[in-house]
Symmetry: C2
Subunit: 109 residues, 2 copies
């Protein structure tokens, strides 16, 4: 399974996207913290975090008996850059045109 496929698969589940959202809101949370408010067992959360970690979407640092989780935005940027961007090309072309226009007007006002 390719890396980009792992990322897509990891993002396919709403619980996992919610976990990413939580870490994006406050980075470095422990497993217990991430479990709070969720209606599933700790083991399920662990499993989801395992997939996210495997997709490199989160990284982990042990501090004593606590496992701290950190969100890593790089794979999502890769998804955007290598996959989504190509379908957004028209929009990006328009933006580039705007930049070019502004630069031209700057030189010849």
């Amino acid at each position: 399974m390719t890396q980009i496929d792992k990322v897509f698969k990891a993002l396919a589940d709403p619980s996992r996207r919610a976990l990413i959202d939580r870490l994006h809101a406050r980075n470095g949370q422990t497993l217990s913290e991430l479990c709070q408010g969720l209606e599933m067992a700790r083991q399920s959360v662990t499993q989801h975090l395992g997939l996210l970690e495997d997709a490199n979407l989160i990284s982990v640092k042990w501090k004593g008996r606590e496992k701290l989780h950190y969100f890593n935005p790089v794979p999502i940027h890769e998804i955007y850059r290598r996959w989504i961007q190509k379908f957004e090309q028209p929009r990006l072309d328009a933006l580039h045109d705007l930049k070019t226009k502004l630069e031209r007007e700057k030189k010849q006002p």
Copy 2:
């Protein structure tokens, strides 16, 4: 299942992403055309296309006995706008700064 979830789930499979790629390269292909070169049965392709259609990622138009498939980029843009963009915010802020800078220099050269 929410719409955005359908889209993520549809994108989670590499075969389906490949189908989108094919349609992006050449729009309006029939089922038979989309089957060519793939190593799975027609029925499997039909199933994948069904999911993509359900996620609104492709739309379909019948022409006689042929079913023409068209790629629809809107849901992918939604994914970008409503989900990915928030993790890309630093980069976008930088781009906005560039625009602002250019506009300022234009007014006061």
